[in-house]
Symmetry: C2
Subunit: 197 residues, 2 copies
């Protein structure tokens, strides 16, 4: 069963014992999603912590002009979180949407809180997971305020080349904070450069 992937993911942080595994098994629910289905929509309170077994998601906000801004892509063996909504029970400002057919595992907010209260080890694992996220996000912010769009695009392609190949450029442009047209121009310029050499 696909919960093995989730347990393997935890084990990378700290190995779980049988009791902890069993507790997880009892509260994890599997779901399948088609393209364009939502894990979370704006205005909803996020009620589940979600682990991606298969497929790929985007988390984005929609601004007042109706333009989408991608905050994150989430693929296999990673956690989907809308931290502010799930922990503070606030309506989400973000959408989380499948961009490929997907299989996910979900733990309800209630069950998660019980697990965290009962197992110090899980509390630690979730602390470390969010810390790693924080580091990645801070690096991205640094790039965003200090580098040109072309450099950010190159970094992204280098760091996430496997992910990038599954994404339309429109989505990458939104993630980088530029328009699809401008990304296309960057790509045009870069391919001319590499042709020459």
């Amino acid at each position: 069963m696909s919960i093995q992937a989730l347990i393997a993911n935890f084990d990378k942080y700290l190995p779980l014992n049988d009791e902890e595994r069993e507790a997880l098994r009892l509260c994890v629910v599997e779901r399948k999603l088609r393209r364009k289905q939502f894990v979370l929509q704006e205005g909803e309170v996020c009620k589940h912590y979600t682990f991606v077994v298969e497929g790929c998601f985007k988390k984005y906000h929609v601004d007042t002009k109706g333009v989408e801004h991608n905050l994150q892509f989430i693929a296999e063996n990673d956690w989907i979180t809308e931290v502010d909504s799930i922990h503070n029970r606030k309506p989400s400002k973000a959408y989380i949407e499948a961009i490929e057919p997907a299989i996910i595992l979900q733990i309800s907010q209630r069950d998660l809180y019980d697990l965290l209260a009962k197992f110090h080890k899980l509390e630690r694992i979730f602390r470390v997971i969010i810390e790693n996220r924080y580091v990645a996000l801070e690096n991205r912010l640094l790039q965003t305020i200090s580098e040109t769009a072309e450099d950010r695009y190159l970094s992204f392609m280098e760091q996430y080349h496997d992910l990038a190949s599954r994404l339309p450029n429109t989505q990458i442009a939104s993630y980088l904070g530029i328009t699809p047209e401008f990304l296309s121009k960057i790509r045009g310029k870069l391919s001319k450069k590499t042709e020459k050499s």
Copy 2:
């Protein structure tokens, strides 16, 4: 003693009992810093978790051209963290520098780990602290990729008006990811606008 401020800060998350307070007291060290002194410099491994009792700090990276990029300002009753460096024992890529005379409390990495292992409650508090940071950072990233520099400046001034009054505009510009000259032009434009009304 200034450790009261630290305990009060924790209590806002979860009230500490006497044992936990005592354990904290035993490992917290107070330091005073003058302007331009560093809590952490590039290349050093971060060895302390730091709480700001008084004063204000900036955390920044220096790029290959020697330009500083401010990632964060940290003032009273807040935590200074270089997450990647302290937890993964990697040399820091950031500087953390006092921009006012300051009083801080520090817990060594070693002591912190003991505390987190011993007290589940502290583990939770640190999880929640980093989660809140994450949320704030994500909002800032969203603004950075979706809004114009003028709007980001206005948001910053609204959200951190008390902090902003203590900072030179150069530092704010660096935080917003723009040049000081351009910020000056934005300010000029805005003051013309408000004059009219």
